[in-house]
């Protein structure tokens, strides 16, 4: 769908690494150029027309994000540099001050490093326990396993909505309900979910959500931290400086601004935020439900073609997102990626920043194909043709 909007797709290239980042449509690129050429001034700083224009554009993106994820208040939307920064802020600013020795954080083995390492600082610093909810034989997170793991010491569950290796969609709404009945917070890593399906924070009832613009047709260096307002009020700024204070005289006399400015210190990625607004408009015009359905159909088409290939070992045959993770018998994943690269096909090889492969699947590295709405059935045919011929892979991998 919509291929004509992506300048890169006019080249002879097949891009299957959308889990890493997405391509950018021309409207987003133009919007960023518009900022740099027509009103390239700072936000929240000036009293002249250009500065006013920037403020409007910047805050307009906040409005768009709020509607996109159905948050209640504009103050609940904080711009960050990406998912990683948002998750670090949630852990350091909210949970580190709140949690006490013996309190428990629950993650899963398939979380991305960005949703593991920030939590790993708490055991040393605060005596907090970090444990993992077991996954089922498909590496799925089931509500039953969440039920089994939670206990009175559990204070927060932090999980991806869609994982970046297995691509399973987690039952977030049920998990939130169960968690809240037990006074547990839920932090949702939406990096792979928000770009690919409708995420409604009010309906899901998540306490925090983090996601990145660059995986959803937006620019790099921009992301969102959503938090329920009453919680965000207690999130201590981890970065201090200009733009976030009302006044300061002595170390004891610092007065901070209201939300969300309090959490947006320093000059933000203004061009990025403005470009992000355009990306949201673009996705809205396509329709998130339509995007999700298209990706599921496309994935099914790919899986059905890969299954008969005896030398392809698919790690996640089942999955409702656009992610397919596999290995070619006796060929190192990176060599498969290099082989496909010779035919201008971009795929990712590696551990994808998650421990799941090593700890649960028993392989260290895989090839990953991650689809987006601009991928086509014809592209899948080209890929499958190249993967069908085992001898060719071995012959051409170096």
């Amino acid at each position: 769908m919509n291929r004509e909007d992506f300048p890169l797709l006019k080249e002879d290239i097949i891009y299957f690494d959308n889990g890493a980042t997405s391509l950018k449509p021309v409207c987003v690129i133009d919007k960023i150029k518009e900022y740099y050429t027509k009103y390239p001034v700072n936000a929240h700083r000036g009293d002249y027309d250009l500065a006013y224009k920037v403020d409007q554009e910047y805050e307009n993106t906040r409005e768009l994000v709020k509607e996109f994820i159905n948050a209640r208040d504009l103050e609940e939307i904080v711009f960050t540099s990406g998912t990683t920064e948002a998750l670090n802020m949630i852990v350091e600013g909210f949970f580190a001050p709140l949690l006490e020795p013996g309190d428990e954080v629950l993650l899963t083995m398939s979380e991305h490093a960005s949703n593991v390492l920030p939590w790993f600082r708490l055991p040393k610093k605060k005596g907090v326990l970090v444990n993992y909810i077991p996954l089922d034989s498909n590496y799925y997170l089931t509500i039953d396993n969440v039920k089994k793991m939670i206990s009175p010491k559990t204070k927060v569950i932090s999980i991806a909505g869609i994982t970046n290796v297995i691509g399973d969609i987690r039952p977030i709404k049920e998990i939130c309900k169960l968690a809240h009945e037990n006074n547990i917070f839920v932090c949702l890593d939406g990096a792979q979910m928000v770009p690919h399906m409708k995420v409604d924070v009010t309906d899901l009832d998540v306490d925090f959500l983090a996601f990145s613009a660059h995986k959803m047709c937006g620019p790099t260096g921009v992301g969102v931290l959503y938090g329920k307002r009453e919680l965000l009020e207690h999130l201590e700024p981890t970065i201090l400086g200009g733009g976030m204070n009302e006044s300061f005289d002595t170390p004891d006399e610092i007065y901070l601004k209201e939300l969300p400015a309090r959490l947006e210190a320093g000059t933000r990625n203004i061009a990025g935020v403005i470009g992000f607004g355009e990306a949201i408009k673009y996705l809205n015009a396509m329709g998130m439900d339509k995007i999700h359905k298209y990706e599921i159909d496309l994935r099914k088409y790919l899986i059905d073609k890969l299954i008969p290939l005896k030398h392809i070992d698919i790690i996640n045959i089942e999955s409702d997102s656009g992610i397919v993770t596999f290995n070619v018998t006796d060929v190192f994943s990176q060599d498969v990626a290099y082989y496909l690269n010779k035919y201008n096909i971009c795929v990712r090889a590696g551990n994808h920043c998650a421990k799941i492969l090593k700890s649960s699947v028993g392989v260290n590295n895989t090839v990953r194909i991650s689809l987006y709405f601009y991928n086509t059935y014809e592209e899948i045919d080209d890929l499958v043709e190249l993967l069908s011929d085992y001898q060719k892979i071995v012959k051409e991998m170096i």
Binding site: F332, D335, Y338, A349, I398
Partner: protein
Amino acid sequence: MNDREIIMEHYQHPLNRKKNDDPMYLHVNTRNESCIDNIDLYVKFNDNIIEDITFMGEACAISISATSIMIKNLIGKTCEEALNYIREFYKMTNGEEFNENILKEGCAYSDVARQGHRKTCANLPFKGIEKAILSHLR
């Protein structure tokens, strides 16, 4: 054999790929930035001479074969000769003039190294052995 055949031969039948718990061997780990090629080298020195090298690890065809070729060419060399070999290898992967007589099979990577990240893969075992030699000399 052409370059590709040399590389494939060393990939499919690498020399001295075995785990090594012998305390006489110095252990170094070497991995590339994307953390996907990951090789453990075990090096035994006899005074100034590299007496033996073995390795273990999971890596791409280029890294594995380069490790094997490195082992073949560096065993028996003095530390200085080995460092000289490593320097020539880096010159080749940087696209500079290099001495083919010193590198022998190592020359097989002169094309591969031009393919972007593949250079890092070919250099990987050499970065590791370089670390081992320098720490031995210290």
